[in-house]
Symmetry: C2
Subunit: 276 residues, 2 copies
């Protein structure tokens, strides 16, 4: 089973061919039960990762407005070892950020060994919103696909496990969620007329996402398109992808921890001998 | 005239073929006079660069122990607009630096637009001392040439002017300078038995430098080998290279400043009209 759609390197993505309401035929109840089990395994894997300190984990979250980035982060933070986990949000760049190359602020908050960082939006905005609104000329944004690829290779070569999720919602579901914000008092703080304005660029964003997904999905830093119309299925797909990605490292992390444990025991025994 | 030896991209460097005592047949007096004139032009260019804020300048200083990195920095800081100029020293990496990829700490201190940063040692140590002393396996340091190339391309693409200087001294001159530190009270604080130990690896460093210079000299980030046995000539060669590199930008920087000036004038006139 694979609930998120992994983009195979070198393939051209057509978002229209991926159903945002896909749920693998599961009921919400069954899905939430699966998610709970996966979240438990994820927590355990994350503990090993944190204590072993051999790798870093970088989770990139992208998606249109209302696609569920904040909800996904809330889900992940409730499942993971909060000690080693950070969230890095990328908003409109500040003047000092704009005075540097576009990866400067991104590189600064990459996870250390043993750490996990969730990017709420990311360097991909520099080939998404920047491209859709022509914030810089094409001669500037076009080379960024290669810069991104080289940057992610650098991180991967130093032990970073990279997962990139595009939360995929339908235009209708976005409208429902925007109207919800308007109609429910508790959600109104998220209301932003800019979201309605951005909707006019729906097809431009589709094209920009498709090129980013097609060009920047690599074996070392794959893109996953996550059907996200149903929030419970979105969480399930993300939990499953994370568990499947981290599971192969379990053995190495356990061995490292055993090694650390044995060294500590030997040191303790020597200390006791010296005291005897 | 070109006092520093520019490494043409794609050529194999043989340090033995570059005379560390080269002085272009100049007397010290004549050399210092030339340097003074160049330093004045450099200061002027640096002012334009700082005020125009269109580019960044990155100066990488590498060289064996006693090759004159600190002296070069003192010379540059006395010639440049100190407001926009920073020095970034790279010492033995800290634990948090080691928990990230090798370019993490380097990227963090790259110059903003209008700024100039001098690297005292640099990311090249990760293919120099790290290689000579096998601090990481070859499978780790070998891909770094490509990482460095991609990183410097990223900086150049966002307007960074990059100059890389290898201060080239002879083994005899190094011995003289080390003995000086031993014999002169005022220089003794720089005394470090480690420098004598590193001398035993002279040929290994030569090989490591030659590969770094050969593989990482590009049109956008060229390497210059600076004959550095004579300190006055070293300063002359560096000042000349900097002036020659920055001079072609003068026109664009001046135009930008004129544009800024005219906009300010127009704003002032409108303000006066509104008060009238």
């Amino acid at each position: 089973m694979a609930f998120a759609k992994k983009i195979e390197p070198g393939t051209a993505v057509r978002l229209a061919e991926i159903d945002p309401a896909y749920d693998a035929g599961l009921s919400k109840d069954d899905g939430e039960k699966l998610t709970k089990d996966l979240a438990k395994r994820l927590d355990e894997l994350d503990d090993l990762h944190y204590e072993a300190g051999m790798n870093s984990v970088l989770i990139v979250l992208q998606g249109r407005d209302t696609s569920g980035k904040d909800g996904t982060i809330r889900f992940l933070l409730s499942s993971l070892n909060a000690q080693g986990c950070r969230v890095a949000p990328f908003k409109v760049p500040t003047p000092i950020e704009l005075a540097h190359d576009f990866l400067w602020r991104v590189h600064a908050v990459t996870p250390p060994k043993g750490g996990m960082t969730i990017f709420n939006r990311s360097h991909y905005e520099d080939v998404l919103v920047v491209r859709v609104h022509s914030l810089v000329p094409e001669a500037v944004w076009r080379p960024r696909y290669e810069h991104i690829d080289a940057f992610e290779r650098l991180l991967a070569d130093s032990g970073t496990i990279i997962l990139k999720f595009m939360l995929h919602i339908s235009k209708e579901e976005q409208e429902r969620r925007l109207l919800d914000r308007e109609n429910e008092v508790q959600k109104a703080w998220k209301l932003n007329v800019g979201d309605w304005k951005e909707r006019a660029y729906w097809d431009d964003y589709t094209a920009a996402y498709e090129e980013a997904l097609s060009r920047c999905s690599t074996a070392r830093a794959p893109w996953y398109v996550v059907p996200a119309d149903k929030k419970w299925f979105r969480n399930l797909a993300i939990a499953e992808t994370l568990v499947n990605t981290l599971e192969p490292y379990r053995k190495a992390w356990l061995e490292r921890l055993e090694g650390i444990g044995e060294a500590a025991k030997a040191e303790l025994e020597e200390f006791r001998r010296s005291q005897a």
